[in-house]
Symmetry: C2
Subunit: 332 residues, 2 copies
Amino acid sequence: MAAKKLRLHIENTRKKNPIFHTLPAHWAAACKRHKALARRIGEVSFGWDGDALESALTDATLLIGIPAQRDNLVARAPQLKWLHSTSAGVDGVLPLDWLPRGVSFTNNSGAHGRKAEQYMIMAYNLINSRMAAITANQHQKHWEALFSPSITGKTAVIVGLGDLGEAAARAAKKLGLNVIGVRRSVQKNRYADKVVTYKQLDRVLPLADFVVLAVPLTAQTRKLLDGRRMDLLKPSAGVINIARGPVADYKALEQRLRAGKLGGAVLDVVDPEPLPADSSLWSTPNLIITPHISCDDGEHYIDISLDLWFENLALFLAGKKLKRRIDPKLGY
Amino acid sequence: MAAKKLRLHIENTRKKNPIFHTLPAHWAAACKRHKALARRIGEVSFGWDGDALESALTDATLLIGIPAQRDNLVARAPQLKWLHSTSAGVDGVLPLDWLPRGVSFTNNSGAHGRKAEQYMIMAYNLINSRMAAITANQHQKHWEALFSPSITGKTAVIVGLGDLGEAAARAAKKLGLNVIGVRRSVQKNRYADKVVTYKQLDRVLPLADFVVLAVPLTAQTRKLLDGRRMDLLKPSAGVINIARGPVADYKALEQRLRAGKLGGAVLDVVDPEPLPADSSLWSTPNLIITPHISCDDGEHYIDISLDLWFENLALFLAGKKLKRRIDPKLGY
């Protein structure tokens, strides 16, 4: 007797950039890459901003994409067993009081590491090479020979050692940096020369030539890098944020950059996004802003994501615990 | 009987940035790093723009720094055996008809590789990540989510495989690029997947996602990358020049960038330098200009240079052929 095939709904939103849309063509290609597993999936529906959601929820066991309306899912989605977010950060849907008990909730951690490593290897050098000042000079048609030292041997303090933090550590090691990782538990990491806990954060910040923020945004990490902690840094230190804007206090950062009390910053995330045209961050000296593009593969984001999803599908079908599950208490 | 100590003159010019000035403190520190060799040096003089040159030349065997006046050195410097340039590129003093026969002329190739590798690892990513457009948007206070693909697996065609070209190849391999090196002779290089000669340049250009110019400027390499060759490139390809401005035709490059016929460019060298404020290169789209800082360690340039010089001094004292000798026929 063949096992019952699983019903899957894929929920998209036009609010996201097209690179994050899971289209039938992506699904078909992924099924070719994962033939045996794909045979276990029955009906698949695609919806946009809720247009096909309610009827799909009545019998779907699997859901990719978080619905905008999440109230009363117990009644609306009686068969639902697994909900998958196509993002890594789920700070937008915290707290998880809407998540029915017994539904596994996974995120897309792991889809971002390769691209994040490339961004980080650039970002360290952007700061070390004074590129914010050099590009500002270019826009003013001004030639000034701004030399810079070698980056080898400098120290990166990387806060968070998940998919993004580990990518930042890999990038750092490729540049010959000394890496201090900061995470909840002192757990060795092959790309970190040393790992400390958050309790020791204040003690390692003065060692940093670069501070990299790679933590999920939760109640605990909001304004983790505040003005007080920035004042523990060397005046030449650079701050790189590839996590979420609110994990740093950008008003405090801007003040210090404008006062020359920090070496520079590269921010891929701000709050709010898009950053309004009247924000004074845009013109802050020694600051480079990139538009939240650091960690997303603009060509294969969904392909990578579906490969990770299929990896979890194998575990799901075997009745095993899924990888990349969100812990409702931790919020990531 | 002790060997006669050698007379050395170190010639500086205020026209160069202070990071290129060899000061008594640099010399003293280098002598501590190379104690045994340093004992073989007798009187050392330091001169600025010729102010102590003529009297030093009368008895100096060794000269660091190329004098501005180079006529009749046979008569002015009868003891001179070895002239060392603190630059790698000697295109500014070509042709070498002023060089007395029997005087070894060495350059500073090897002092630039570490910093060049760091610049290149950034430059590939600057192009791949569309950073020229992103920084232009920042200056216009405009948020636009410009995503980009992963750089892994792309192809770099690196023209010249000396100190700089090899650094560009090392950087490329750290990013997972495919490397095609172009040089005079097909000589294997551990960082190049393939090496071809200049005769095959036109055949490999269509394969390039990045073309890196890392050749010395000579009569043969002037406008090596001209408009015709640019038209052999993919429309998405990026051009990176860390050699000398005139090895590419920048008018042709600017036209193609403005017409969207090339993906982007990162130019660390232009012609003339400093680039005049009225140059249209400054505002060419998808072009990043850096002020000739790609390959020079802003902190330890002279320390690195003197270490290379002492390595050659050991060869000189042993009567062996010096490394990094300029071939007067090739001009590098």
